[in-house]
């Protein structure tokens, strides 16, 4: 294939109209273009096979409907109208939206405070703390969730043991009333360290002469942190917000792993992603599951777009 590209002449028109001297240059640039494509090819294959292809296939599936008794029929956009009117989908969406509203600010505050403190202090303790705060992110989400499942366990968990030492019953953090907070804790534990590193890296890239100037102007440490550092890492904070917004709206791993020990609190429609998963792999409704997935994708897209527009208009929401 490479040989074919290499020996192919430029287009006939180019040969006919251009002065003879420029033809080799054109040929070279054409070849370079081909070479570029060739280097992109490995990525392109993976990209098409594992992203574009499945997306297109899911889009195609979502236009059909399959009944146990009827077989597959073309449905057009019926699955989508059904999805947005589906109480299960709406309920899941409402949960992840509520969850986002609490978990994202919480994570960001934890990450920002940790980063600001670590930026101030130096030495071995600071390096060690940085590592420890980052560590939960290095633990795979599934293992993290399993570990919290053990910690929350009403029979073996240390929370219950601690409580029984004081002769009280610890609340079961995965019960229907508490699971919101139980998950909040797991997710914040898992992700705050990662966001802390992003903010910390942004803080490290700030020129220290800025602080010097501020100090000369009489700013104290608190003022430097809030008036100088925070505004200067706004772009990192925006990035984190978008990351966590997308991640939280697609909430799946933690509730899925904790589900089996949550006494049924994690229903098959707990979050939109879990709902899509169960529709596909439990009820074999691949068509409707595809539509739910696309509908969720649409909601995520809209949420991020709204956020981007809001932040662009005001320049930054943090200043």
């Amino acid at each position: 294939m490479a040989a074919t590209v290499d020996t192919r002449p430029s287009t006939p028109r180019a040969v006919a109209s251009d002065p003879p001297g420029t033809a080799p240059a054109r040929r070279r640039s054409a070849r370079r273009g081909a070479l570029g494509w060739l280097f992109i090819l490995p990525f392109l294959i993976v990209f098409v096979v594992f992203l574009i292809g499945p997306l297109a296939y899911a889009g195609y599936l979502s236009l059909y409907t399959k009944g146990l008794a009827t077989g597959t029929t073309f449905a057009g956009l019926d699955n989508y109208t059904r999805a947005f009117g589906d109480p299960s989908f709406r309920k899941g969406l409402w949960f992840v939206l509520r969850f986002s509203l609490v978990v994202i600010p919480l994570q960001m505050i934890v990450a920002l405070v940790a980063a600001l403190v670590l930026d101030e202090v130096t030495g071995r303790l600071a390096r060690f703390s940085r590592l420890v705060i980052f560590l939960p992110y290095a633990i795979p989400a599934v293992l993290g969730a399993l570990m919290w499942g053990f910690l929350y366990s009403p029979s073996f968990g240390p929370i219950e043991q601690l409580a029984s030492a004081f002769d009280v019953r610890a609340p079961f953090l995965l019960s229907q009333g508490n699971i919101f907070y139980g998950l909040l804790n797991v997710v914040t534990w898992q992700w705050a360290g990662y966001y802390m590193i992003i903010i910390y890296a942004a803080l490290q890239s700030i020129d220290s002469s800025v602080y010097e100037a501020a100090r000369m102007d009489g700013a104290n440490a608190r003022q430097i942190a809030l008036r100088i550092k925070v505004p200067m890492v706004t772009s990192a904070l925006t990035l984190i917000l978008i990351f966590s917004l997308i991640g939280t709206l697609q909430f799946f791993t933690e509730p899925q792993i904790l589900g089996p020990i949550a006494n049924g609190t994690v229903t098959p429609d707990f979050t939109p992603n879990i709902y899509a998963f169960n529709l596909a792999f439990r009820y074999a409704q691949f068509n409707y599951a595809s539509a739910i997935s696309f509908a969720l994708g649409f909601v995520v897209f809209v949420a991020v777009a709204i956020f981007m527009i809001v932040t662009r208009k005001k320049g930054s929401i943090f200043t």
Partner: protein
């Protein structure tokens, strides 16, 4: 010159592309070997024989497979445990939808059969000589796996239900005899609780099959369905019996008389060992699974006993069933005759069946075993020497009248589970749960293209 300068780059790029295609080539290789499954959990005795892949989760399956492979030179079983119940059904369902990836033979509970039959996922075993083993089973057991003259699975075990209880807890709180009726059950539960004792039982949301069986015990008939009349289904989940049973258990849970924990979890098992539950409403195969999970071997050894399932009307007792499994041949099986041979011969030999019932992992449906004096008079170790088969399980199995299941059991169970969760959280009443469940299932049946009567 230019070409030679670029050559290494070309080589690199081409090599990467080739490397990628080599990967996909590897996949094809795996596909080709599917005809002869190699990733077996067990050891293949006769290498040259036809291999039949099997999914099953019986706790003593390793022994059962070895028994089969040692006894057969022409066919060998390649066994995988793909999960107990629900997780395995999900994998099987996905394999059906993908039209590949299913095993040749699959273990299915009888309540799941029709849901897979309607998808043409199972093979009719009648042309493969299923009738030769028909004589080994009761008429009812055979009816559960048949549709007209077609036979879609070979039964192995059943699940007659009974009341398993803790003699030490009963003694401590002065319950002299196991409750014979459900009102007695509730009264005993209240008595134990008033004396500061543990909860009496458990209303776990993840065993909707138990709740369904208990609904049927009071006279509910949730579904009417016949595969020969594929489009039509009768659904009746808002009847008084369903409402009564859900109300009964919902009230027990609300008043703290029974636990609300899911079953088979580590927490639940440790609760069983620790005497956190005075009774366990369960099937004949339960002791085998509990023993495997570590119950009955520790400090509570010898404290378990079994009594007949409490009744609503002692004058007209109704016996019900939970679980019990079959082996079915999937339509994806490459060698259906060999697969049928496995379905009929696996867990059908005397050593396997004996191992199964002695460990109380199965309640065999093979009539030869059921009527043998060794089985009838067996003293159960788990039940501290009680003749559980003769006193409880055989009468229960004999009185069982069968049940009709829907072709979407998985979905129905998921919805019932959701209602039990709500009941346990005090967010609904038994009557409301039954009505909501009914509406949900009717709606689902309609979207699946059924005519609901």
């Amino acid at each position: 010159m230019r070409t030679s300068k670029n050559l290494p780059a070309f080589v690199t790029a081409v090599a990467v592309v080739l490397g990628l295609s080599a990967c996909s080539g590897g996949d094809d290789g795996a596909g080709a070997s599917r005809a002869k499954p190699t990733n077996c959990t067990n050891k293949i005795v006769h290498e040259d024989a036809t291999r039949v892949s099997v999914w099953a989760w019986y706790p003593n399956m390793a022994k059962v497979v070895d028994n089969f492979n040692n006894a057969h030179t022409d066919v060998q079983v390649c066994w995988t445990n793909a999960g107990q119940g629900q997780p395995q059904y999900e994998k099987f369902q996905t394999a059906i939808s993908a039209k590949k990836g299913a095993p040749d033979v699959v273990m299915l509970e009888s309540d799941q059969l029709v849901g897979f039959e309607i998808q043409d996922a199972l093979v009719d075993l009648a042309p493969f000589g299923a009738d030769t083993v028909k004589k080994n089973f009761s008429e009812g057991a055979w009816k559960d796996v048949s549709q007209g003259t077609a036979v879609y699975a070979i039964p192995v075990d059943g699940g007659p239900m009974a009341l398993i209880y803790r003699t030490d807890v009963f003694r401590k709180y002065g319950i002299t005899a196991p409750p014979k009726t459900w009102p007695e059950y509730a009264a005993a539960a209240a008595r134990v609780k008033a004396a500061g004792g543990p909860v009496f039982g458990d209303f776990g949301s993840n065993v909707p099959a138990v709740t369904t069986a208990l609904m049927m015990q009071k006279g509910a008939q949730p579904f009417g369905y016949d595969l020969s009349d594929k489009q039509n289904i009768t659904i009746k989940l808002d009847d008084q019996a369903t409402k009564d049973v859900l109300t009964f258990w919902g009230e027990l849970a609300k008043n703290g008389l029974v636990g609300k924990e899911d079953q088979f979890t580590t927490d639940y098992i440790s609760g069983m060992v620790g005497g956190k539950y005075a009774t366990y409403v369960s099937a004949a195969w339960a002791p085998g699974y509990l023993t495997g999970a570590g119950v009955g071997g520790g400090t509570e050894k010898g404290t378990w006993a079994v009594a007949p399932l409490p009744q609503w009307d002692p004058a007209n007792p109704v016996e019900v069933n939970w679980g019990g499994s079959t082996f079915a041949v999937t339509s994806q099986a490459s060698d259906k005759a060999a697969a049928a041979k496995v379905a009929m011969g696996l867990y059908a030999d005397e050593p396997s069946l004996t191992d199964g019932w002695k460990s109380q992992t199965i309640f065999p449906l093979n009539t030869g075993v059921l009527t043998s004096t060794e089985f009838v008079d067996a003293r159960s170790e788990f039940f501290n020497g009680q003749t559980a088969n003769r006193d409880v399980y055989i009468p229960a199995a004999n009185a069982y009248r069968g049940a009709v299941y829907s072709p979407f059991t998985v979905y129905y169970y998921a919805q019932l589970q959701a209602q039990i969760v709500k009941l346990n959280a005090g967010q609904t009443t038994g009557a409301q749960a039954a009505t909501d469940l009914h509406d949900e299932i009717v709606k689902y049946a309609k979207t699946q293209g059924f005519t609901v009567r």
